[in-house]
Amino acid sequence: MAGAPKQDDVVICIRGLVTGFGRKTIHDHLDLDVRRGEVLGVVGGSGSGKSVLLRAIIGLIRPREGTVKVFGQPLGEVEGGEMHRLEMRWGVLFQEGALFSSQTVAENIQVPLREYTNMSQELMDEIAAVKLSLVGLPPDAAHKYPSELSGGMKKRAGLARALALDPELLFLDEPTSGLDPISADGFDALIRQLQESLGLTVFMVTHDIDSLRAVADRIAVLVNGKIITGTIAELRKNPDPWIQEYFSGTRGRAALEGTEA
């Protein structure tokens, strides 16, 4: 992907996005491009609007100004069936997995399949098993209810549901938060592996500098309502005090040790 990205290669295109609650402005004329096939890590301090940005892109929040185009389609203008078709092309993993608590893991994965396709129950069961193995859950997890799963397993199950329709674009909201370091490393490796084998574009909101290093191709930092993008190496040279603090604080340094600055 050398040189300027072609229009086709931009999966998410945000121009002049303004969002806010009440009097508070969260994003102030923000621009961002996410290219096909990349893993973009979004970081920022608490309250800087990472999750809000994600919710604005998937249409859960209406922006005050600006446009968000996903797959070239401007959100807010597409409606009904067109919007459904768009939603089928992305998958979202919410922070706590957001599994439907009254359904088993297999049923959770089959929800979008049942809604959007007319597969036989047998085929859906088989596909649920495929998704479970893709996210590294044992087959016997299929018939468990979300309340019977640990936090890490819930996230994997949530990821399996997000992958149910084989989306091209995957949104992850803090995929490694609340996981122990070993599970978090496992999850990072999983995301990378899935991204490679399924050819996904990944938009990942995170706090976790380890997972940025392990997974992200590019990083977008939210500072003062704007966004600054670059690789880790590029961002470390950025003079912004928050970015300096983030990558050069004790945690940042420890995580980045061994990578070239």
Binding site: R85, S102, N118, S133, L134, P146, D166, G199
Partner: protein
């Protein structure tokens, strides 16, 4: 149902005439899997010799499609044919490898046997559950009684007065409009139906006796208790249940706060204060509704109404109705709080137990009302 995105080419497969070569093409993606599954299921794989699967013409492939490719290979092998090769575009090789590792889930076997035995099993399970529930509520009643007694002995320390008054406001004052309106309407209905029947005997004036005794002894209290069970009993369960889901109850316990004292007693005491007052208000509104109907339907003036009412009822009639209210209140609040503490940490549980609290609350109110009727008739009140 959404049809496949228009840019996705159809998926197809062909088996050549001697059955030695299976060609796959088009977009083997989730949107086409249902069709493909049917077509593949209808295909006869029998034949002789090796098969070569040529998937190099695939335009798109996703994990569901990859699974179908692998399953096709499996079904070929299942009929005893060897798959000599599987050609695939380079870019899809990692995907196929990732899907290949999938282990089939064992089908879910329900512990409940089918048929008659299953029904027996369910009945048995429900009975055991009901028994345990009853036992557990009894235990809870004991705990609440002990705590309440302790609180009443040392009210300054253990009784939370502001919380109690908050509950009186929530369950009593805020319920005034709905209770008043419904009682008024019930009064109208009762007077109308009574007048209609009694007119045949020329005894319209006794509509007032019917109304007075009916509303004060039974209807006023019952209607109010049922409304409050639906309104406040459910609110107790939902509130305490949501606190459980949020781990707030756990947090309170670790801080050494007594949950019965902080959450349950104010609700019970608040409702025990509020419900008798509400019942009195409801009685008044019911009689007002009746008087309204008598005036317009029978032409009975308010003067005549009041004089007849005084003949029909005594203070006892009112008290018999009112004495039941605190008992109803106690049961409604107890069940509401108890069910709130039974909530598990999932969304469905809150809804389920809220429903149960309302149903149990209304059930117990009516059962108790019947018990009171029997008791009063034995006592000759």
């Amino acid at each position: 149902m959404i049809e496949a995105a228009s840019d996705a080419p159809e998926a197809w497969f062909t088996l050549d005439r001697d059955g030695g070569r299976l060609t796959l093409g088009g977009a083997w993606v989730t949107a086409h899997c249902a069709q493909l599954d049917k077509a593949l299921g209808g295909q006869d794989w029998n034949g002789r010799g090796d098969v070569a699967i040529d998937a190099s013409k695939l335009e798109r492939l996703d994990s569901a499609g990859a699974w179908l490719v692998l399953r096709t290979r499996k079904s070929l092998e299942a009929v005893g044919r060897k798959v000599s090769r599987l050609d695939l575009p380079e870019m899809y090789v990692p995907l196929l490898k990732a899907v290949e590792g999938a282990k089939p889930c064992e089908p879910y076997v329900s512990r409940i046997p089918p048929g008659f035995r299953g029904r027996l099993y369910r009945i048995g399970r429900a009975t055991v559950h009901a028994g345990r529930q009853g036992w557990s509520i009894l235990g809870y009643l004991g705990r609440v009684t002990v705590e309440a007694a302790e609180a009443l002995v040392r009210p300054a320390r253990n009784l939370r007065i502001p919380a109690i008054f908050h509950q009186v406001e929530e369950t009593g004052i805020n319920a005034l409009p709905i209770v008043g309106l419904l009682a008024f309407l019930i009064g109208i209905v009762l007077a109308y139906q009574g007048a209609d029947q009694l007119k045949r005997f020329g005894a319209e004036i006794f509509t007032i006796n019917l109304l007075g005794v009916g509303v004060l002894r039974e209807i006023g209290g019952l209607i109010t208790a049922i409304i409050v069970a639906g309104r406040s009993g459910s609110a107790f369960t939902a509130h305490i249940g949501t606190m459980r889901v949020n781990e707030e109850i756990d947090a309170m316990q670790t801080m050494g706060l007594n949950t019965v004292e902080t959450l349950v007693l104010p609700r019970i005491i608040g409702l025990v204060i509020a419900l008798p007052l509400l019942t009195f208000y409801s009685d008044v509104m019911g009689l007002l509704g009746g008087a309204f109907m008598c005036y317009f339907q029978l032409g009975i003036t308010i003067h005549v109404f009041l004089r007849q009412l005084q003949d029909a009822i005594t203070l006892n009639t009112l008290l018999v109705g009112l004495v039941k209210a605190p008992v109803f209140a106690f049961v409604i609040a107890l069940v509401g709080c108890y069910e709130g503490f039974q909530v598990e940490r999932n969304a469905a549980s809150v809804g389920l137990l809220t429903t149960r609290a309302v149903v149990e609350g209304i059930f117990l109110v009516i059962v108790l009302d019947a018990a009171f009727s029997v008791m009063f008739s034995v006592l000759g009140v």
